[in-house]
């Protein structure tokens, strides 16, 4: 197994006039990985993937997609990369099957149309006009077109925006099954939940910069500086019972509640230690910090849940 990067971006910068969209972004996506680019609208996510797709030329820096330069080797690149772009419609009066047949003809070794539409739940829609599709169906067709050429790398830009929660979850399942077939996925999103659920690693981008790059759990842990739990003890106990544990950083009492912070297997260790001392921990609550917290901590700003796509 080689560990060659599927996508390697080094020191990418891109400005539009005086507006710097991407400033010195470097990241590396391993083969078979689902890699998320996460950030608020206007952070430079879309510009970054447009450079990866060869739609824009970087001002400085270099990009390699499985060894290909997106601008110089655009023809070969487009044979192995499938893209789902934001705000790209299809002709209203073409049927789903006709659109799929057209895009299928663009590739030398395309996927089977039936297979792709079954996987995306579009089987009953082949004869429908594009304009009669719901937002979720259009989005799924767009993903189908990204996959019809059997790409090695799929770039999906805001694939679930505009979808209802159920359709969003269905799409996540689909993306996982695509990855299980060995496709590397570069996912642009501003949904925290999506990144937490799908991504192996996430780059947080803000104002054109990568502010953090880690697994979703790693980023979340970094934001809280550790873990935290609170509980109500069944009987009083001595603080030292817990504070002497290596996992525990601090212990505070708020009325009947005890709050313990620490690292590692904090929860298990605390509950086990209390149990051996004959203390039951009731109403245990875990303070699980999320990517959202990480983002706020790292940038001092909130991600906007919905808004104008950047």
């Amino acid at each position: 197994m080689n560990t060659q990067a599927a996508v390697e971006i080094s020191h990418l910068s891109k400005a539009y006039g005086n507006v710097v969209a991407v400033d010195d972004v470097s990241l590396s996506v391993a083969e078979g990985e689902i890699f998320g680019i996460l950030g608020p609208n206007g952070a430079g996510k879309t510009t970054t993937v447009e450079c990866v797709l060869g739609l824009r030329t970087p001002d400085t820096g270099s990009i390699s997609v499985l060894g290909l330069d997106p601008v110089r080797d655009a023809g070969q690149l487009h044979m192995i990369v499938g893209a789902q772009l934001q705000e790209s419609a299809l002709p209203a009066k073409l049927r789903v099957g006709e659109i799929l047949a057209e895009y299928r003809s663009f590739y030398r070794e395309p996927a089977d149309v039936g297979e792709v539409i079954d996987g995306l739940g579009l089987a009953g829609k082949v004869k429908d006009y594009y304009r009669s599709l719901s937002g979720g169906q259009r989005q799924r067709l767009s993903i189908a077109l990204a996959l019809i050429g059997r790409p090695k790398v799929a770039v999906l830009d805001e694939m679930t925006s505009g979808l209802d929660p159920q359709a969003r979850r269905d799409t996540w399942d689909l993306i996982e099954s695509v990855r299980n077939r060995g496709v590397t996925i570069l996912l642009v999103t501003h949904f925290m939940e999506e990144a937490e659920r799908l991504c192996d690693r996430v780059a947080l981008i803000d104002a054109g910069h990568v502010v953090a790059l880690d697994s979703p759990a790693g980023l979340a842990a970094r934001a809280s500086g550790g873990k935290s739990m609170r509980f109500v003890p069944s009987v009083p106990f001595d603080d030292r019972l817990l504070t002497e544990l290596p996992e525990v950083g601090s212990l505070t009492r708020h009325g009947s509640h005890v709050v313990v912070t620490g690292t590692g297997e904090l929860v298990n260790t605390v509950i086990l230690t209390l149990a051996t001392a004959g203390v039951a921990a009731r109403d245990v609550q875990l303070d699980t910090s999320s990517l959202e917290d990480a983002f706020v901590k790292l940038t001092g700003r909130h991600l906007h849940e919905e808004g104008i796509p950047a």
């Binding site: 080094s10 020191h11 990418l12 910068s13 400005a15 539009y16 006039g17 005086n18 710097v20 010195d24 797709l53 060869g54 739609l55 824009r56 030329t57 001002d59 400085t60 820096g61 270099s62 601008v71 023809g75 070969q76 487009h78 044979m79 990369v81 499938g82 893209a83 772009l85 705000e87 790209s88 419609a89 299809l90 002709p91 009066k93 073409l94 006709e98 659109i99 047949a101 057209e102 895009y103 003809s105 663009f106 590739y107 030398r108 077109l145 050429g149």
Partner: protein, 286 residues
């Protein structure tokens, strides 16, 4: 590849733009751009098929382009004087004079109204940008639309010409070779103007507005409301240098048996060349 160590160029004002090789012109690079070896050539057939379906399913242009001229023929046919030769029309009947005008109108409707709208819509909706991420160049869609528009024009003209000969008693064209040349040059000139509209228009609505604004003055100089033979010297001189005026002159001469003079043919070729260059210069793919 240490390109990132280069100093970033001073920010220049340039619009975000998809990268397509443009000037300076190189035939080899143009060939590589239009026919990349990565794109299966069968894809072009698929694109054309879908363009034909779209033309068929949104037939406003087809109905307008074929129906209106035939309707006008039927109306003219009811006017008795239209079948009598008139001295001020150079010994032709009004019917003889109007068939070339209707031919030029068909070409203008398709070139100015049917052609630019969908192309601009394709750009507007990001369809061309989406294609730019596939092995097939977006220019293939442009080419497919041109092929479909050209075939539609030829089919419409065949209906018009056959109907006017078979049903309305117009004489058979006396110089068919010259007629074909005149029609093809007229199509080239008008399609180039249509592409130019697609290049500069910012939206499908704007394209339709510009197309209509160009259509009516051009149609005036073709003689639709006032045949060229009856125009004053100055008006006729202007008409000679408009695309539809030159088209009508060349088509009518060929129909009546003369090889058309160089002037209208050169005027049409000039429009085709200049407007193709302008369209090429200003065409945006997104």
């Amino acid at each position: 590849m240490n390109t990132h160590t280069l100093p970033r160029p001073k920010a220049q004002v340039q619009p975000p733009k998809t990268q397509f090789p443009k000037t300076p012109f190189s035939a080899a690079r143009l060939a590589r751009t239009l026919l990349p070896e990565t794109a299966p050539h069968a894809a072009f057939g698929q694109i054309v098929r879908n363009q034909v379906r779209l033309a068929w399913r949104l037939p406003a242009g087809l109905i307008f382009g074929v129906g209106l001229p035939v309707l006008l023929l039927i109306i003219f046919n009811q006017i008795p004087s239209f079948h009598q030769t008139q001295a001020d029309l150079g010994g032709l009947t009004p019917f003889d004079v109007y068939v070339p005008i209707l031919i030029s109108m068909v070409i203008a409707i398709i070139a100015l109204i049917s052609l630019p709208g969908p192309l601009v819509t394709y750009r507007d909706q990001g369809i061309l940008r989406r294609l730019a991420t596939t092995p097939v160049p977006p220019s293939w869609v442009l080419a497919a639309q041109l092929v479909v528009a050209f075939c539609t024009t030829i089919a419409s003209l065949l209906i018009l010409v056959v109907a006017s000969i078979a049903a309305f008693g117009v004489d058979v064209p006396k110089n068919p070779g010259a007629l074909v040349l005149a029609v093809v040059l007229s199509i080239a000139a008008m399609f180039a103007i249509g592409l130019c509209i697609a290049a500069v228009a910012r939206s499908g609505i704007a394209a339709r507005a510009i197309g209509a604004a160009a259509f009516y003055p051009m149609l005036f100089f073709s003689g639709m409301w006032f045949p060229r033979e009856l125009m004053s010297g100055a008006l006729q001189e202007i008409s000679n240098f408009t695309p539809l005026g030159a088209a009508v002159e060349a088509i009518q001469d060929s129909w009546q048996g003369q090889f058309p003079p160089a002037e209208p043919l050169l005027v049409l070729a000039g429009y085709a060349l200049v407007f193709t260059m302008i369209a090429r210069r200003f065409f945006r793919w997104e």
